[in-house]
């Protein structure tokens, strides 16, 4: 059997790649893609812990489904915001969207 720590290491690596994407990318859509990668890493963690440590409880899968729902809602609203900003200011570069910067 595959050890639990392998899954956790994979999830940590995927999370850090997504984290880099969120911090380093200019394009707001690319930042959202980084966030999706991070959420996927969290889901791997949750399912791995469910499989190895609490297979009798359904809570592990339930958490994953709630995370999936929130990710879908977040993607829909985030992309709607990006399209709205693009229409008003003709940019999707996160640095140029500085209307509320003081």
């Amino acid at each position: 059997m595959i050890p639990l720590s392998w899954y956790l290491a994979l999830a940590a690596a995927l999370f850090c790649v997504g984290f880099y994407g969120v911090l380093a990318r200019k394009n707001a859509v690319a930042i959202l893609m980084g966030i999706e990668l991070m959420l996927n890493a969290v889901n791997i963690n949750l399912v791995a812990f469910w499989h190895y440590l609490a297979p009798g409880l359904i809570a592990g899968q339930m958490f994953t489904i709630i995370v999936l729902t929130v990710a879908a809602a977040e993607a829909a609203v985030g992309l709607a915001l990006i399209i709205s900003i693009y229409r008003r200011r003709s940019t999707v570069v996160a640095e140029d969207i500085d209307l509320m910067k003081w």
């Binding site: 059997m1 595959i2 050890p3 639990l4 720590s5 392998w6 956790l8 290491a9 994979l10 940590a12 690596a13 995927l14 999370f15 850090c16 790649v17 997504g18 984290f19 880099y20 994407g21 911090l23 380093a24 200019k26 394009n27 859509v29 690319a30 959202l32 893609m33 999706e36 990668l37 996927n40 889901n43 399912v47 469910w50 499989h51 190895y52 440590l53 297979p55 009798g56 359904i58 899968q61 994953t64 489904i65 709630i66 999936l68 729902t69 990710a71 879908a72 809602a73 977040e74 993607a75 829909a76 609203v77 992309l79 915001l81 990006i82 399209i83 693009y86 999707v92 570069v93 640095e95």
Partner: protein
Amino acid sequence: MTAAHVIFLVTAVATLGAALYVVTARNLVHAALALIASFFGVAIIFVLLQAGFLAAVQVVLYIGAIAILIIFAIMLTRRVMQDTGPQTNRQWWVAAIMAAVLFVALLVSLGLVPSLQDVTQPVTALPSPDDSLRQLGKSFVDPNQYLLPFELASVLLLVALIGSIVIAADKKQP
């Protein structure tokens, strides 16, 4: 090394490679396609963890809905963001260092928990996939279990639906 180990390692390398391409690619459409590959790798990981329902949901929801939504957003905003020129901001090296530090910190903290090291088998026998799915479906509608989170998730989806229509709608056109 069994077949499961080999499948895991190949999938993990492919997933991480696709993820790295997502965060470094110049061309955003290519990045979105790599994102789909990465999602698919995560679905294979779910299958390895014997969560078949979640793997199906991963394919349908992430690849079928979120990735398509992201590709739509890329197409709609493509003109300003040409694929030439740097795609990262000036502090990208700080971001790289922070991500590396976070990764090392996570691995070290994983090593600090000795009880996690030698878990190679589920502590109790896994329920059969059918049982697991039946249990999941029942717990969604059981008031003593997850009825309230389920309803809250439904309301959240409705709010997100209405909210994104209101935000993205073009108010100038009738």
